[in-house]
Amino acid sequence: MPGDDSIIDIRNLGLTFQTADAPVCALSDINLQIGAGEFVSFIGPSGCGKTTLMRIIADLEQPTAGSIKVNGLSPREARLQRSYGYVFQAPALYAWRNILRNVTLPHEIMGTGRSEAERKARKYLDLVGLTGFEKKYPWQLSGGMQQRVSIARALSFDPQLLLMDEPFGALDEITRDRMNEELLRIWAQTRKTVIFVTHSIDEAVLLSTRIVVMSARPGRIIDVIDSPLPADRSLDTRETAAAHELAHRVRQGLRAGHSYDGH
């Protein structure tokens, strides 16, 4: 477990949305440290604040309580250093750019040369299985394909911190497995810090070094589970006993988290 070298350091964090009727307490009393090179998955009931927490980390939302440091800096400063690659829960593609140019967008902004940008974009589009669709526009793609474009876009510019909000939710099992493998490979190669939201316990187990289980309303962390699985993994790792046991523990936590909100 990370000590001082933690890349993300969240203390007593809370966020309450002011809405027209009653305020919504989305997050409450969150404490978490994430070390460099970790792969942390968040799992929890729908509406428990996973997206909100990610948004706070990426400086897209301001906490109303507590503090957060990214790399020792405020999220804002980290954002100014272009540390984040964010895959949103929805694809967020630009309707007036074709697929290729959607992926080269971050490169344009960060000033990568055009040919280099295109090379990388093509490489990652191929990785997500979308070669041949470079010239299409977003509305000509299926939901899963759009989400894959968004993944290629986030991976392609090699950010220090990868924030992925249910990136594989709209994919079929096989494609998803393939994506999981690629992500494992990329992570193994680069040891980027990845923060990952998923609803699939198997996926969380397969990918993570740590799994954070959350409960709903107000969103709280109810369990943080260190993965006992070896660093070197493949899809088959899921079938090991250790993995099964881990999955069981996550499921228990999830169930506990659910029981919070009286359903």
Binding site: A58, D59, R82, G85, W96, I109, M110
Partner: protein, 297 residues
């Protein structure tokens, strides 16, 4: 998100409906001409002291010198006479006057559109400007331009600026407004997620502007440009009124009106309308090209 244009500009199968509507309008128009001119013709016929019938009345209403409403063929004849039968460089040619008006309109439009875009960019980016400037932009448009048009013409004339510029300034004053308003809306139209994406890249305001706000605002831009160029033409013509006897469609309207030359007024009006339509279509054409390049649905 990108708004779909109504398909009315597509050339496909437009001729028949247009012709039908035009035919309908012409029939209505002849009828209206009878109604509106009837009284004067009847008086004149009475004055002749001979018995007259309905056909005399109708023929009379369609061939008056100074009708309340000229018949279509009279306008067409005048239009033909002043466009085709005189050299385009002659002062009696409507084409010459249209040219004078068009040049001032275009200058005013270009500067007005630029001003509108610059103002909207400022408003969207500088919060203080948004709060402080916006109400005054609106107030500026409640100043009746015709009231200050002579003052502009006079004041500029005093410092030696005459001819096209004063007119262009008036037209610019009128047309920057729809562009500014439309573009403020347009530049603010990207949804939150798209803006958030840019934020995660730490894109500069400049980059967010060019890569997100501007493309997202193009549908708004073009629809306001179409309104703006029509208004710009009106502005120029208004600007031609106080300068009185100079050239241009406005001067033509004025003198026609002054001497009760209804037929001349109507043909000048048609010229203005054709000019305006040509300009609106030019913008629609550019819009189509631009939106196609952006892969619109």
């Amino acid at each position: 998100m990108a708004t779909k244009r109504p398909g009315f500009l597509s050339p496909r199968g437009r001729l028949l409906p247009v012709l039908t509507v035009v035919a309908l309008i012409i029939v209505l128009w002849y009828g209206l001409a009878i109604c509106l001119n009837r009284q004067q013709v009847a008086e004149r016929l009475d004055g002749l002291g001979q018995p007259w019938g309905i056909s005399d009345l109708i023929a009379g209403t369609w061939s008056m010198d100074r009708p309340v409403l000229p018949a279509p063929h009279q306008v067409a004849a005048e239009f033909w006479k002043t466009t085709a039968e005189v050299a385009p460089s002659s002062k009696r040619s409507l084409i010459y006057h249209a040219g004078v008006t068009a040049s001032a309109t275009l200058v005013g439009f270009v500067f007005g559109a630029l001003l509108g875009i610059i103002l909207s960019a400022g408003i969207v980016h500088v919060r203080t400007l948004d709060r402080s400037l916006m109400p005054w932009i609106i107030a500026s448009q409640t100043v009746p331009i015709l009231a200050i048009a002579p003052m502009i013409v006079v004041v500029l004339g005093n410092i030696g600026i005459t001819g096209l510029i004063p007119k262009a300034i008036i037209s610019m004053y009128l047309c920057f407004f729809p562009v500014a308003i439309g573009m403020v809306k347009g530049l603010r139209s990207p949804d939150l997620l798209q803006l958030d994406l840019m934020r995660t890249y730490n894109a500069s305001a400049w980059q967010v502007f060019w890569k997100l706000r501007v493309p997202a605002s193009l549908p708004f831009l073009f629809s306001s440009l179409k309104v703006a160029i029509a208004i710009s033409l009106v502005g120029t013509i208004v600007g031609e009124l106080p300068t009185g006897a100079s050239a241009g469609i406005g001067a033509r309207l004025l003198s026609g009106s002054y001497y009760g030359q209804t037929v001349q007024i109507w043909s000048a009006l048609f010229m203005a309308a054709f000019l305006g339509m040509a300009m609106v279509y030019a913008i629609a054409g550019i819009e189509r090209l631009a939106l196609r390049r952006m892969g619109a649905q």
